[in-house]
Symmetry: C2
Subunit: 194 residues, 2 copies
């Protein structure tokens, strides 16, 4: 039996990303976002939504670029801190002892300590209400070699993905690798259609 909950931000899992920007003084900053994802395969685009009140929002509007830095579950304390502190009065890179690496492609910093980084330039801005959705074309993806499998793909055991469950406000990690996409459904696909 399902219960009607009204409109609420409940979809799971959501990714957890650290949005990298430079402020007007050139100081690198990060904020945590979970309203984000992939939205186009060609050109490769991602989307991330920020409230206009955040310090990072104005930097993206001005620079029209950002990075998405995807942390592992082992970095959850840093991630949660980044989501609570504001770049207006804190230097989050310095406080965490993290290194802001200038991107050669966009005017935004990469986080050296985070295993997966995407360099993005804004191609669409959607004012949706409380949040502005920025769609960014991905100019490059940089992945730590230590978290790759033998085929060069991201290994979800070496790099435990971190997700967020809105409603219950919980960070989630990997319970298991369930199986292969475009593989597990083959038996059902091969059945004679009704």
């Amino acid at each position: 039996m399902k219960k009607s909950l009204g409109p609420k931000t409940l979809l799971c899992p959501t990714p957890v990303v650290l949005v990298g920007t430079y402020d007007q003084a050139g100081k690198p900053n990060l904020m945590t976002a979970a309203w984000a994802g992939i939205c186009c395969s060609k050109p490769v685009c991602v989307n991330v939504s920020l409230r206009a009140a955040t310090y990072s929002h104005r930097q993206i509007v001005r620079n029209q670029t950002f990075t998405l830095n995807v942390p592992s579950a082992a970095q959850v304390r840093e991630v949660d801190f980044v989501g609570m502190a504001s770049g207006r009065d804190r230097d989050k890179f310095a406080e965490l002892g993290w290194s802001a690496v200038p991107s050669e492609l966009v005017n935004a910093p990469l986080v050296a300590e985070v295993p997966l980084c995407l360099e993005c330039k804004v191609v669409v801005t959607n004012e949706l209400g409380l949040h502005t959705q920025f769609v960014g074309e991905v100019l490059d993806v940089k992945l730590e070699e230590a978290v790759m499998d033998q085929a060069g793909n991201l290994d979800p055991v070496k790099f435990e993905p971190l997700a967020y469950l809105p409603d219950a406000k919980l960070y989630l990690g990997l319970s298991r690798v369930v199986g292969g996409g475009f593989e597990l459904g083959k038996e059902l696909l091969a059945k004679k259609a009704l």
Copy 2:
């Protein structure tokens, strides 16, 4: 040491959703999508991206409504099948023995067997390239009572969230509770700023 991979659709985890629509004959249909997420808290909006070539794309364009049905990891075979078969020549609801429940709010079907359903009306359409991104305002969220915790929130152990890892094409289960959002970072937040 990070390796540059060029632009690729690598962000993790992505959610896995079953997009519900009616076709022109009124037949309920589903497709699997992983390019999806939450994009605004007020009004509550979600986004999902579909290729124009898919059967579901044209139904959303015509009806301007859709549902997102969020399956649990236990339903991964059905999910993968739904992602490989087309509603043009298959009746996926009938083949799976699933029930399409008419929504009272939008012109799209809900999946009775899936624990979390969102009813959405299109508010923005972004033609990004290979994919069209539909932003839907969420009119209602319906959650199975059996997967709720005592506070009425989605319990990620009772309902193991299913994620997709693009690159390696793996389905992941994400039931490991890492900790609380706006909790784990408090110690770092309380430190004296540098």
